[in-house]
Subunit: 173 residues, 2 copies
DNA sequence: GGAATTGAGTTGAGTGTTCAACTCAGAATA
DNA sequence: TATTCTGAGTTGAACACTCAACTCAATTCC
């Protein structure tokens, strides 16, 4: 049984079921908090957050899609929604019309500034508080391994992305 | 900085970004495999799988919703779709009309039987292969802690659910 | 310098999920 | 026995995401 390559043993099945539950519960908790407190979904929040960390509050569409972990199409729809609220604006990109950029408006900056502490508090409850520092580091490295198996391209991009986000973030504290 | 309760330190932020990426990549990989190979989404697959592990291939709607980690509404819509394919049927529940049950048809059993090996192979690649047995156990317990923080009710249900699924599953090998 | 190609971004249709409103049967209360 | 209440399930509208088709500008290639 244990050596049966076609099925999963107890421990593997336990892991899989737990992961299923995790994938169900984690996003819905985060989305719930953001919907209630800010009125945006997680992806829209990421878009606003990534823009706010930029000195000129501006990012090229395709770059923004990468750092927010979404497709270009998804971003385009999201930007349309955020535009309707007056939180971002589309602008012709510098250096030719080949690139479109998104700019975070003053209202958008205010929105994300108000939202961030609430969101961070929730993240602390959800991810930081339940685990010790060592456990958190362990979790991060295990998740990275799984990301690598599922999507090597994204995994490699994370090598650059994560330090970038962390570095930018230091300026905001 | 490190003691600032309003923000996240580097390691915490790294963990959060990694988790965001993980929540993006993991479901889409699983959904992709199922869509391609079986033509169902993950939730529909779970519904079929949970029914197939039942001796009478039948489950009450609300119980099925629990074990497949979805809301009753979501399940109702999913059952409608699966019904259209002839893979499940709604039946009046035993003992009064208070409970509706879902029954896995022969065609549905065949579909899940064909699908399972492909799905399991993908799970092995995604979750089992990249980690050692010890790491997998560690991951499971860390995820459980996070589930507990996000949704204590589900966490408690998992205490009963996981052994039940594992036990049923033993019969199918 | 015209034609095909490529890359960035948009759009609309189709699909699945959520949310709130609804139905309906069985229990409880009077 | 009528009335209210509760729990299970369904339904439809609103919304977000995906996917494929499309536009348009910049490049490349004869």
């Amino acid at each position: 049984m244990v050596t049966d390559d076609a099925w999963l043993d107890d421990e593997q099945l336990r892991a899989w079921v737990t992961l299923m539950a995790f994938l169900e519960v984690m996003p819905s908790s985060v989305e719930g908090q953001l919907k209630r407190d800010v009125g945006v979904n997680l992806f829209e929040y990421s878009v606003l957050a990534m823009l706010s960390e930029q000195v000129d509050r501006t990012l090229v569409m395709s770059d923004l899609a990468q750092v927010a972990f979404g497709s270009l199409s998804r971003l385009s729809h999201a930007v349309t929604r955020l535009e309707r609220r007056g939180w971002v604006e589309r602008r012709a990109g510098s250096g030719g019309r080949r690139h479109n950029t998104v700019w975070l408006t003053d209202a958008g900056l205010e929105a994300i500034t108000d939202a961030a502490p609430l969101h961070v508090a929730h993240v602390r409850e959800l991810l930081v508080a339940p685990l010790s520092a060592a456990e958190l580091a362990t979790l991060t490295s295990l998740l990275r391994r799984l990301i690598g198996a599922a999507n090597p391209a994204l995994d490699e991009r994370l090598d650059h992305l994560v330090p970038t986000i962390i570095e930018r973030n230091l300026g905001s504290t």
